[in-house]
Symmetry: C2
Subunit: 131 residues, 2 copies
């Protein structure tokens, strides 16, 4: 029916796709974006993250912070006080991740329209040129 195409999608392409997915998997985790953007505003106590991120449960927040900490994006610092104080900050790796997310945001703002399909350039509304 059709000729068998030459397999131009090579092993290296699969590796690239897998590596890309690793980054996407980490950064696209539920609430990861919000937590990273919040910590980009500065160090936060656990209770502050919980309060400022909004509709997140303690369980989910703890999981999110732990995942980000294990991946080396966030550092956790516990102070031996009563009541105990725990603070979270971005690491330099966390900053670079946040930079990548910002690039995605800028791309999204420029090209995607509220989750709706972006219109191809030739279908975009042309600003009224005035009378």
């Amino acid at each position: 029916m059709h000729s068998v195409p030459s397999p131009t999608f090579e092993a290296s392409d699969y590796e690239m796709a897998a590596g890309t997915r690793r980054a996407l998997h980490l950064l696209a985790g539920k609430w990861s974006v919000e937590v990273l953007y919040l910590l980009a505003n500065g160090t936060r106590r656990y209770s502050e993250v919980l309060y400022e991120v909004g509709e997140i449960s303690k369980k989910t927040l703890t999981q999110t912070l732990r995942t980000l900490e294990r991946a080396g994006l966030v550092t956790r610092r516990a102070y031996p006080e009563v009541p105990p104080r725990v603070e979270y900050s971005l690491t330099s790796l966390g900053w670079s991740a946040t930079g990548l997310l910002m690039s995605l945001y800028e791309w999204s703002e420029e090209h995607l329209v509220d989750g709706a399909p972006a219109r191809p350039p030739h279908l975009r509304a042309v600003p009224d040129q005035g009378a």
Copy 2:
């Protein structure tokens, strides 16, 4: 118990997080990465994408291509031939998306280790300095 923090995570931060998620949602779709990387190698017929991407069902591939097409990342061109020929290519928006994915890949390669948590810099193996 603890003072209520000032809400420094502002409306604009939530908008940024939402915009970032839109991009992540689109690009992290199952097989999106593979299809975009494949088409970055050049225009492909449907059957070629199916063959080269590998373990993807026709149904899933059709959905993936349609999503990417609606988002303006991929163009579909049908030729009135017998048997019908349908070709897919990256648009300029698709190229910019692929560029973002490449940045994620490079970041992943540099910092993430096979899906395992990346080790913080101070725990990374130091290359043997030789005898």
